[in-house]
């Protein structure tokens, strides 16, 4: 991850174990994530203060579930109302189609320079690479995204893309890539990035942003941000293209305040963000600013397949706050890049298998101790641990087969092991004899248990099982 290396480090979910090994052995990564996640957890807790958080989460979950229940109708309503507002709506079945639509919109205007607000969907479909291949330069304007892009990396967190970097590393990156002074003065670096970006906003032909909530009843696109780059991206260039997953639609304008309250607090512990943009169309004739044209690209990319399954459907409630990763003891230790996926952490582990297939992502659903911290903090109450178990089931071929690559992890050895477990646990006589024997011979648990005993001593079966102790206990009582 050294910024001095010209070789760009790439990550893939197929190498999760190796990447986790590397991250665990990297003290800088460990310290950066621990510190950042500790801070975020505290901020979130403090920001909800005395609020009845459970009731609010319940409300958030209900709003999202209601929207998903009517998803096809709401999307049509959104399209009609956006078009009525002058926002052109495009539908993309996958990332490739979305990239093509956006490129063609850019080419139609002869655009060479694109400025981007933060958008995880655009990361999901590798939009920047696609545009670059067509000779269109796409520059990230969110500070974290900008730094990550300068460093030829991908975001390590969905809200704080450069959270894996500390001040010294950022200073180095900016020094090498933009010629700023080496410093620990955060204000200096921020001001430098601001002025570098300001020029690019002015020169951009197109601004591309994401969407946090797309309101069906009004055709309004809500964009939550802190740096003003979202507002610049969506108002300065002559054309604005908003790109979003189809699940981001909500029914009513009144659905937005509770979700926004949950989002800002869950994500960064803020009561409100610095900017909240509501985009409802291009510049009108009598107006002096704003883009001449606004487009909305609605991306499916596997979402409607998730939608078909009444259990997996809960995955689509997500409002992308990142609280599940902030509270995940696994994410905190291995960081975001280790997952090798656009969305890391618990939400990534239940979402990416649908996008990439279980062949490539089979190690992600198991990379959780099922401690439940993610589900506990999720502002829309996604049952993340249950969904992790569901995907484990799919991976070993015991699910409904609704996930690409289902059954990829099934192997004879493991099936035989669980069948043996089943046999023993359903034959109580054999269980009692077997467990009693284990204690006497200490054979069930050799002292070398591979991965377990590299870090811990082996548990030793007791000389007498509970079953046997109880037999004695009963005898003592009847004798007494």
């Amino acid at each position: 991850m050294s910024i001095h290396d010209d070789a760009v480090q790439t990550f893939t979910p197929r190498d999760f174990h190796r990447q986790a090994h590397d991250a665990l052995g990297n003290p800088q990564i460990r310290a950066n994530f621990r510190k950042a996640m500790d801070g975020l957890m505290t901020k979130r807790r403090d920001s909800f203060g005395d609020w009845d958080l459970e009731t609010l989460r319940e409300l958030g979950a209900n709003i999202r579930m209601r929207a998903l229940a009517k998803l096809p109708e709401l999307l049509e309503q959104l399209e009609a109302n956006c078009e009525a507002n002058g926002i052109h709506v495009h539908w993309a079945e996958d990332g490739e189609e979305a990239c093509r639509i956006i490129r063609e919109l850019c080419e139609a205007r002869g655009a060479k320079a694109v400025i981007k607000g933060k958008s995880m969907v655009s990361e999901e479909m590798h939009l920047n690479e696609h545009l670059e291949a067509a000779g269109i330069e796409a520059l990230e304007s969110d500070l974290g995204e900008y730094l990550v892009q300068l460093n030829q990396q991908t975001p390590s967190h969905i809200i704080m893309p450069a959270i894996h970097l500390n001040t010294d590393e950022i200073s180095d990156i900016m020094h090498h890539k933009t010629g700023t002074e080496r410093t620990r003065d955060v204000d200096y670096m921020t001001a430098a990035a601001r002025s570098q970006l300001r020029e690019r906003f002015m020169a951009a032909d197109v601004g591309i942003s994401g969407v946090n909530f797309a309101v069906a009843e009004t055709g309004t696109l809500c964009l939550v941000e802190n740096e003003g780059n979202g507002r610049m991206t969506t108002t300065v260039p002559p054309m604005h293209i908003a790109v979003t997953g189809i699940e981001k639609v909500v029914e009513h304008l009144r659905d937005v305040p509770p979700l926004y309250a949950l989002l800002s607090r869950s994500a960064t512990g803020q009561h409100v963000t610095t900017y909240f943009n509501m985009i409802s169309g291009p510049r009108k004739e009598q107006e002096h600013d704003g883009p001449e044209a606004v487009h909305l690209v609605l991306v499916d990319n596997g979402r409607s397949r998730i939608y078909q399954d009444d259990e997996l459907l809960d995955t689509l409630r997500c409002i992308r706050c990142g609280a599940c990763m902030n509270h995940c003891p696994v994410y905190t230790r291995v960081g975001g890049h280790t997952y090798g996926t656009t969305y890391p952490g618990p939400i990534g582990s239940i979402l990416m298998p649908h996008m990439l297939g279980l062949e490539d992502t089979k190690d992600l659903p198991s990379a959780s101790s099922l401690c439940g911290a993610c589900g506990e903090v999720c502002p829309v109450k996604i049952p993340i641990p249950d969904l992790l178990v569901r995907l484990r089931r799919e991976a070993v071929g015991e699910g409904r087969g609704n996930v690409p690559g289902a059954g990829v992890k099934r192997n004879k050895k493991e099936v035989a092991a669980w069948k043996s477990f089943q046999w023993l646990a359903t034959h109580p006589g054999a269980w009692r004899r077997g467990t009693a024997m284990a204690g006497k011979l200490n054979m069930l648990m050799p002292s070398n248990l591979g991965p377990w005993t590299d870090h811990r001593t082996a548990p030793k079966p007791a000389k007498t099982t509970l079953h046997a102790l109880i037999k004695r206990h009963r005898k003592q009582r009847s004798d007494a």
């Binding site: 003891p329 990379a367 959780s368 099922l370 089943q422 359903t426 811990r456 007791a462 007498t464 109880i470």
Partner: protein
């Protein structure tokens, strides 16, 4: 948070579901739990045909095998008595996941009935027995690790510490990031051993930093993991199931 749970009055009889880890590795904890219950005037029935709740197969995705194991346990509790489980993890499996596991099958009603009668041991001692303890031990500092299943799946973050607070000579030491997982997670510890090891290392450090030479927990998975790490590092911190600790100090 689950709706407020209403607890029954103290019953004459309870079932005791020992769990496989207690049965094989920590049988004394099971006996101590039984003695605590018996001291409260409750007759403890231990169904001899109990084996394992099926959780290891369940969390590994082996639904069919988990269901068959769970099915063999459902029939062990014929009478309407509470089922006491000295583990939040197995308790959570039976309380929360049995109804899911049998949804739409002929055993659904039975699974729900059993699930509704499952109580984790510390929960039962606090809320149903309203346990009083006379502390006969020396003054001691102790740390507690509440399992994630007890804490989150069963909503029982408080019952362990409440029991310890009834021991007059015991000082419960607060540890940093007490709510964080110890890294056990059943097969997680084997499938992702390095991540699990990093987690248990942090947990043991946090416990050690409290100055306590003893930690207690209500789950034998965590006990095996945290205790095994302390032992591996040859640290002078020992772990114990909370049932044994309570029994030992009050007799």
């Amino acid at each position: 948070m689950a709706p407020v749970k209403l607890y029954p009055p103290k019953p004459d009889k309870v079932y005791f579901y020992g769990t496989c880890l207690v049965d094989i590795f920590f049988p004394q904890a099971g006996m101590d739990a039984i003695r605590l219950l018996e001291r409260e005037g409750i007759e403890v029935i231990f169904p001899d045909d109990q084996t394992c709740c099926g959780q290891p197969a369940y969390t590994s995705g082996y639904q069919t095998e988990a269901r068959e194991v769970a099915r063999s346990q459902l029939g062990l509790f014929e009478q309407d008595w509470p089922i006491i489980v000295p583990s939040g993890s197995c308790g959570g499996m039976m309380h929360t996941h049995y109804p899911q596991l049998f949804a739409g099958t002929e055993d659904e009603a039975l699974a729900k009935a059993v699930a509704g009668r499952v109580f984790e041991l510390t929960e039962f001692l606090v809320h149903v027995c309203r346990l009083k303890l006379e502390d006969r031990g020396e003054p001691e500092k102790v740390a507690m690790h509440t399992s994630c299943s007890a804490r989150r799946e069963m909503g029982l973050a408080e019952t362990g510490p409440m029991l310890l607070s009834k021991l007059g000579q015991v000082e419960l030491m607060e540890q940093e990031r007490a709510a964080e997982c110890c890294g056990f997670g059943g097969t997680f510890a084997v499938r992702h051993p390095e991540i699990s090891a990093a987690m248990v290392e942090d947990k043991t450090q946090a416990i050690e930093a409290t100055g306590a030479k003893r930690f207690v927990t209500s789950d034998c998975g965590c006990l095996m993991n945290i205790g095994g790490r302390f032992e591996h590092q040859q640290k002078a911190v020992t772990g114990e199931h909370i049932a044994s600790y309570l029994w030992r100090r009050s007799t």
